[in-house]
């Protein structure tokens, strides 16, 4: 009789009645064959693997993370409430010790959704992992969390949300941004001046295979995690690095994903992308579930898998080794880098332009961060979208000092109602979200 070594929870929510559009990769059919494979393998009958029904998140769970313009219900569909809800269900079961680990096999994904949301980008509207993490912090007092993002695309949304948070380690390995959407995630993107080094990016050359991925996990991610000492490790478990994925160019495999999961030992995995719905997802998911549960997965192999043929070139190996060296160096020098970035500045500014590929929108942002030595600093974002909507958003971080808190409120109260459609404040010290003004917003 099979028995899980680690009691593992699963939320499986394939949303069989939801799609971005009929032929979009993010469509009803996406997890159909995965479900077939999971059922045929009998995974849910294994002692110690438990399936949960997803909860729905509430608007206030979203407001802990995002500023949705014009509001949450306009940028989210029901599927987003359930998808993030699935992650929340797993988090709760892990923290209440009903399970040791868990996997939210949900769609739609979320790691491209940033703090300010005007619409959908990279098939994502709200950030499932961030919503889950902030829920864990609020309800269970969790402090230090690491996100290891193994989706093929750079998780620029998660990076954005945790850019200024020294207590959330965000590490992403992904296909080099010069060759794939969203075009970001280079090793010099390290986080803001009060949190530099808590964001780490490891771009990988196209055609990286098992050995490249596992090298990064063993040589960079494990030692960094060891030092960071997170209470919870979250894996943004995209499955689009597979050699059959139609929208990426990597050479990863079901065995590789299972090995990665076994070595990384995430407490919580949340599904992100993965669009080879017949050739990869059924096998990758079976491999990942077995690896999480601590059951032998060595015979899980997708048709067409040939370890030798998928081997990466020596040149790729060298590039990866070099990148890893740089990333580790940055990690070791993070205090120095923070000091250098802060210099004697009182404030730090960042101007950005953000493209929403899914909804075809363009946004410009001006960000002002208070450089504080007591806390990670109050944050003000002025965002304008080509929908015509604009927002002045103030974020007071969870551990804000009194000065930063007061500064946040003064920003919020003194904001000019004429130059912004919407003025909002997210005070994480009191877990409140308020909107001072909302006018002429387009939906």
């Amino acid at each position: 009789m099979l028995k899980a070594k680690h009691k593992t929870g699963l939320v499986f929510f394939p949303a069989y009645d939801w799609a971005i559009s009929a032929t979009h990769p993010e469509r009803e059919e996406r997890l159909l064959y995965t479900q077939d494979q999971v059922l045929e393998e009998g995974l849910l009958d294994i002692e110690g693997i438990i399936e949960f029904k997803p909860d729905l998140i509430e608007v206030k769970d979203v407001q802990r993370v995002h500023f949705c313009v014009p509001d949450e219900l306009s940028v989210m569909t029901k599927s987003h409430f359930i998808s993030a809800g699935g992650a929340k269900t797993i988090a709760r079961a892990v923290l209440e010790k009903n399970i040791e680990r868990g996997f939210a096999l949900v769609r739609p994904p979320g790691h491209h959704a940033m703090r300010v949301v005007h619409g959908g980008r990279g098939f994502c509207n709200v950030n499932n992992e961030a919503i889950m993490i902030e829920y864990m912090r609020k309800e269970y007092g969790v402090d230090r969390v690491a996100i290891v993002d193994t989706d093929c695309h750079h998780g620029d949304g998660s990076q954005d949300i945790y850019w200024h948070d020294p207590d959330t380690l965000y590490i992403s390995l992904h296909q080099d941004g010069r060759t794939l959407y969203p075009g970001s995630g280079f090793p010099d993107e390290l986080g803001g001046p009060t949190a530099a080094g808590a964001t780490l990016n490891i771009p990988l050359p196209p055609y990286t295979s098992e050995e490249g991925f596992l090298f990064v996990i063993k040589e960079v991610i494990l030692p960094v995690l060891e030092e960071f000492k997170p209470e919870i490790v979250v894996n943004s478990a995209g499955q689009d690095n597979h050699f059959t994925d139609p929208i990426t160019n990597m050479n990863f495999s079901a065995q590789g994903y299972a090995d990665l999961t076994r070595i990384l030992k995430p407490d919580i995995a949340v599904l992100e992308g993965g669009y080879s719905i017949e050739g990869a997802l059924p096998y990758v998911n079976v491999g990942v579930i077995l690896a999480m549960a601590g059951i032998d997965y060595t015979k899980v192999k997708e048709p067409g898998y040939d370890h030798e043929k998928l081997r990466q070139s020596l040149q790729i190996t060298r590039v990866i080794e070099q990148t890893c060296k740089v990333v580790l160096e940055n990690w070791r020098n993070r205090e120095e880098i923070r000091r250098r970035m802060q210099a004697d500045k009182k404030f730090d500014e960042r101007r950005r332009s953000i493209f929403y590929d899914t909804d075809g929108l363009h946004e410009t942002q001006n960000e002002t961060l208070k450089i504080c030595h007591e806390c990670s600093g109050a944050l003000k974002i002025v965002s304008r979208c080509d929908t015509g909507n604009s927002i002045l958003a103030v974020h007071i971080p969870r551990k804000a000092c009194k000065t930063c808190r007061e500064l946040g409120y003064s920003w919020y109260e003194s904001a000019d109602p004429k130059s912004n459609n919407m003025i909002a404040l997210q005070d994480r010290t009191t877990d409140t979200y308020q909107v001072r003004q909302k006018k002429d917003l387009k939906r």
Binding site: M1, L2, V11, F12, F13, P14, A15, Y16, D17, W18, A22, T23, R27, E28, E29, L32, Y33, Q35, D36, Q37, L39, E40, E41, G42, D45, E51, F52, K53, P54, L56, K78, S79, I82, P246, E278, P282, Y283, V286, L290, I295, D296, K299, V300, K301, E302, P303
Partner: protein, 566 residues
């Protein structure tokens, strides 16, 4: 007139029902070691002096296969399984004659690795030399493409008495469950065949040549010939007999819990608008998890004869039975003794019941009456707690569409129907404690046998269509056809209903009893390379468990009779 027979752990109940309601009822003691004799005695007594021509058919619910499984007395059977990639099939070993072989098929039905005929021949030779006469064959994803099972079956057929193929037994996915289910069918086959052939023969000798139906775990019946092909379906028919015995009395627009309070256990299930709820995948028995369609029934080890014990100040009831109540000469106090102490039951030795409960009363610092009340209350509370757990489990079942999740259909029973020997004594207290309208079923002590007699023939059909590959498949029906690219779910439903009707009638259903419905209908656009390339359609249909047409007249007679009794 119809004979209904239900073998229980303690008693075997036999009834004869007809236009005049309950024409005759008989109780015989069950002798588990001589089950055939028990059944035969029951049938002899119920048919005594009845003109054979007046009996139309008999429906039997026996513990033959269930006992063989639970007591680990299954005859040996060979199993040949081909898994391909995935979990090592060794994990699903059913016994010594279990052979994982090469060959594999993927989730879309594509062959990945062919069958190795030589390998199968060698195993066949080995099984033959070990005297194995029956073999089961299961390949992973055989419900998407049965070719490998069929091929292996062809190689084996000349050498064995009987070969069972996994895809013929169930169209559902779950390779491990298909292995267990096929093994059980293969292994039970000789037992089942011998037993019921003997029953038929004995009846024939008495001049009774009537069709024999066998009750299944899903609360429906199948005729004798069908049961020979699917003997595994006869497991766990006990709880379905009870549930079917309450169906006639369940309100049509409400959710009801049916409870059969027996000597050792209380079995329960949920009826939704009078139709019993089925378990999502299949029944589980002993170490076997199957794809055998069954009622979503729950069992708790509390009944009228459960052993009552005190440990310090902690009172426990069940889960075992050491014998009858002390009032009937048993060795330990039971809830039945509590009823004697409370003067609710008569015709036994109340003094012995009091003696049994005295030490418990002392330990609890109560009077004997108070202790009896405590025992009885605790029994009722534990039964209700497990009913609540059953409802919670049903409501926790995951769903896979936004619509289902948001509409969040939740079972909320408002009625309880009680049957079984102690039913009348429990009804009132169960109602007080639960707040649900609680009633006992008329003829409660033989309602299970009445349910067996009146159950209709049920079956299920699963259909899978892939217009990209141009195939339609109903694996368990051995039905496969080519379809055009414009094939739709509507076409699938039409073909499915046709197959279902045929299957039901072939299994012994009367054409008047085909109450059919759709359990699942899914249709997906298949997109390859950003282009719509086909449709993936899945349809699941059933003949619902329920009572045969004409039952109403019989039941209303039974109700009148039971009113007259009181």
């Amino acid at each position: 007139m119809i004979i209904g027979l239900d073998v229980g752990g303690t008693h075997t109940d036999v009834v004869l029902v007809g236009e005049n309601g309950l024409e005759r009822q008989v109780k015989v003691l069950t002798d588990t070691s001589a089950l055939f004799q028990t059944v035969l005695t029951g049938l002899e007594k119920i048919t005594e002096n009845i003109p054979p021509g007046r009996i139309t058919h008999a429906a039997l619910s026996t513990t033959l296969s269930t006992n063989a499984i639970v007591q680990n007395k299954l005859p040996p059977a060979g199993m040949i399984v081909s898994g391909g990639p995935g979990i090592d099939p060794e994990a699903f070993r059913t016994g010594p004659y279990y052979f994982p072989v090469s060959g594999s098929i993927d989730h879309s039905g594509k062959e990945i690795q062919p069958v190795d005929a030589g390998e199968i021949e060698a195993i066949a030779a080995k099984l033959q030399s070990d005297g194995i006469r029956h073999v089961g064959v299961v390949s992973k994803f055989s419900t998407r493409n049965p070719a490998h099972e069929v091929r292996i079956g062809e190689i084996l057929a000349p050498h064995f008495d009987r070969v069972f193929l996994g895809h013929r037994i169930s169209g559902h996915l779950s390779f491990p469950r298909r292995i267990d289910t096929t093994f059980l069918n293969t292994s039970i086959y000789p037992l089942h065949k011998k037993f019921f052939e003997a029953v038929k023969e004995s009846l024939k000798q008495k001049g009774i040549t009537i069709p024999i139906y066998i009750l299944k775990a899903d609360g429906g019946t199948m005729d004798f010939d069908t049961s020979i092909d699917f003997p595994g379906q006869s497991i766990l028919s006990g709880p379905s007999a009870s549930v079917m015995g309450s169906v006639a009395f369940a309100p049509e627009n409400a959710e009801t819990i049916a409870m059969d309070i027996g000597g050792t256990t209380t079995d329960m299930a949920v009826l939704i608008n009078g139709t019993p709820l089925l378990s999502p995948l299949g029944v589980e028995l002993g170490r076997y998890k199957t794809l055998i369609r069954g009622l979503n029934s729950y069992s708790i080890g509390i009944g009228g004869d459960s052993a009552v014990r005190i440990n310090g100040r902690v009172l426990t009831i069940g889960p075992d039975r050491e014998g009858p109540a002390m009032a009937f000469g048993g060795p330990v106090p039971t809830p039945t003794d509590a009823l004697f102490v409370l003067n609710r039951m008569q015709n036994g030795d109340r003094q012995r019941a009091v003696q049994g409960i005295e030490p418990i009363a002392k330990a609890l610092g109560l009077s004997v009456e108070e202790a009896a009340n405590t025992i009885f209350d605790q029994a009722c509370r534990e039964i209700l707690a497990s009913a609540r757990e059953m409802i919670n489990q049903i409501n926790r079942k995951p769903v896979y569409t936004i619509k289902e999740l948001l509409e969040g259909y939740q079972v909320k029973p408002s009625h309880i129907l009680v049957l079984g020997g102690p039913a009348p004594y429990f009804t009132r207290r169960l109602e007080e404690l639960s707040g649900y309208a609680t009633e006992k079923v008329p003829a409660w002590s033989v309602a299970n046998a009445i349910g067996t007699a009146l159950s209709r023939t049920t079956c299920e059909v699963l259909l899978f269509a892939d217009t990209q590959r141009g195939i339609l498949l109903a694996p368990a029906e051995s039905h496969q056809e080519s379809i055009r690219s414009d094939f739709t779910k509507k076409d699938a439903l039409r073909i499915g209903f046709g197959l279902l009707k045929k299957k039901a009638v072939d299994s012994g259903a009367s054409p008047n009893d085909l109450e059919m419905d759709v359990l699942e209908e899914l249709e997906f656009n298949m997109v390859r390379g950003f282009r719509l390339t086909g449709k993936n359609i899945r349809v699941r249909l059933q003949v619902k468990p329920g009572l045969i047409c004409g039952y109403k007249k019989i039941i209303s007679q039974i109700c009148d009779q039971s009113v007259n009794e009181v």
